[in-house]
Amino acid sequence: MRLSLTSRLSVISALLPALMVMLVVYIGATSWTAWMSLTNSRMLPNNNFVGLRQYQLLFTNDRWITSVHNIVIYGVLFVSLALLIGFLLAVAIDQRVRAEDTIRSIYLYPYSMSFVVTGLVWQWLLNPTLGIQYVLRSWGFAGASFDWIVRPETAIYCLVIAGVWQASGLVMAIMLAGLRGIDDEIWKAARVDGLPKWRVYVSIIIPMMGASFATAAVLLSTAVVRLYDLAVSMTNGGPGIASEVPAKFVMDHLFERANIGLATAAATTMLITVIAVVAPYLYWRARKGELR
């Protein structure tokens, strides 16, 4: 069907916002950020080209090194624990249990709440004077110690606990859909062969659920790079700089420490990391034709 002039104008007018957003916000803002990272801008942006000087400063900056170190710990633990727990929850629910709807709602409700709420609740639960540590001691475990949130070397693990609590339900929902999509014939064949159930899961089902695992892993990974609200509300990067994360590093240097050059160098580094993770995944999905 050939489009008349009016139809063509209508289509263009409808796509104008999307085009504007693409050009101005995404392409424009990204290039500007990348350019700023090559200048010595401090409180106000300037165009004094300094090459990769900011990146040099960035990777000798203690706060940034700690941030990167933390995000690696958080990322590895958060993604693997959420995948593991989410998968186990899905398998449990898939055993034709009673009250399935209620159980699923309980596993998933944390995902509906904001990171700020999650961070504040867990900050209270992990409070060393009145939180879980106190409960354990009052139950007779006199030497029980659970003061991770106030110790620099363990504070980052507290963010993992809260993050996993919030995200496992999402993984469960994705995994459950994957499990329900598996043909019953496979289960029948495995039963005929006399395979124990756990063997079927490990050797047959998990390899078949590559797509579910990939989707969940990519979702969780992008959440890792964005980790900000949780760190701000739960520990605010502390004690000291012990639980700083890259997103917070960028925000602090943009708005409090007036160092635009360094902040944009950090943001650009984050961008490159994300592209390295997401591009292969999107390519893979596009080839599978799932995006169209």
């Binding site: 034709r96 639960l125 997103a247 944009t264």
Partner: protein, 297 residues
């Protein structure tokens, strides 16, 4: 990803109880308690007076439950300099939420419609690019956008934050509606074209009325997403419009002197209330929203 939504309703016949089944139910019970623990602690803490919190057990039920902390959290808790409670943030969030949800869905559905049913050159490139940027961290865009809005004379304001939510909601909303319109029978669209209906007529009279289920999903997705937003509200809303999540963080984390944990938890619950109501009220629709928005994350 639509398989996720459709496959959930399947319920299989139940089995008899065996030792393995008891183990299974024990696992489910323990994990369910772990997931419920924070919600339970939030509720009991918010109902206890401070004296009880100071000497009592975190898990104990309140001996003399009172809603004082709730009233204080709502009307007089301090967020930095002012002490007018979390209600200020609640109404700010509401004022941000309503226009943001309406406008982002309107723009997203129109974009999805134009990209799905109309043959436009470069449509796939535009769509693919939008899917990629949905993954990029906000930190990359934030500072240039601050400059653009202050250059445009908007600065930090309600208009700014609504525009921002529309911009960052666009990829997900477009994806949602594009996929839905693609799944509709093409004959419907062709018949309307032959009858002489124009671009916007088909959108308003035929496509949007048929997209009601997607609109419900989009509303749930955007409402929870925008309500739970912290970073965008913090940067773009301006001091007079700070959303509830930002106010909550200020109440809890900028207190001088002894912390009023009961007030903190009441304020936290109040902030979580709307998403929780939507979640428990909408049931499977929420899961559909997650499935549809899964690409964004």
């Amino acid at each position: 990803m639509t398989a996720l939504a459709q496959s959930l309703p399947v319920a299989r016949p139940r089995k008899r109880m065996t030792p393995a089944r008891w183990g299974l139910y024990a696992f489910i019970l323990i994990t369910a308690l772990y997931f419920l623990l924070p919600l339970y602690v939030m509720i009991v803490t918010s109902l206890k007076p401070m004296a009880e919190i100071r000497q009592g057990n975190l898990l104990a039920l309140p001996m003399s439950p009172s809603v004082d902390a709730w009233i204080k959290a709502w009307t007089s808790a301090c967020t930095g300099l002012t002490c007018e409670g979390i209600r200020v943030g609640f109404f700010n969030s509401l004022r941000i939420l309503v226009p943001s949800v309406v406008i982002s869905i309107a723009v997203g559905s129109l974009t999805g419609y134009a990209l799905s049913l109309w043959r436009v050159r470069g449509a796939n490139i535009l769509f693919g690019a939008m899917m990629i940027v949905a993954f990029i961290p906000y930190q990359v865009f934030i500072y240039p956008l601050v400059r653009v809005f202050s250059f445009a004379g908007l600065g930090q304001s309600l208009v700014t934050i609504v525009t921002i939510h529309t911009i960052f909601g666009l990829p997900t909303m477009t994806l949602l509606f594009r996929n839905y319109f693609t799944s509709l029978p093409v004959e419907l669209f062709k018949a309307a074209r032959i009858d002489g209906a124009g671009f916007y007529q088909i959108y308003a009279r035929i496509m949007m009325p048929m997209a009601t289920p997607m609109i419900v999903v989009a509303v749930i997705l955007q409402t929870t997403g925008i309500w739970n937003d912290f970073i965008l509200g913090l940067v773009f809303a301006g001091r007079d419009n700070l959303p509830m999540t930002v106010q909550l963080n200020n109440i809890v984390n900028s207190t001088q002197g002894e912390r009023a944990y009961n007030v903190d938890m009441a304020a936290t619950l109040l902030t979580a209330l709307l998403p929780l109501v939507i979640y428990f009220g909408s049931g499977r629709w929420f899961v559909r929203g997650i499935a549809a928005g899964a690409v964004k994350g």
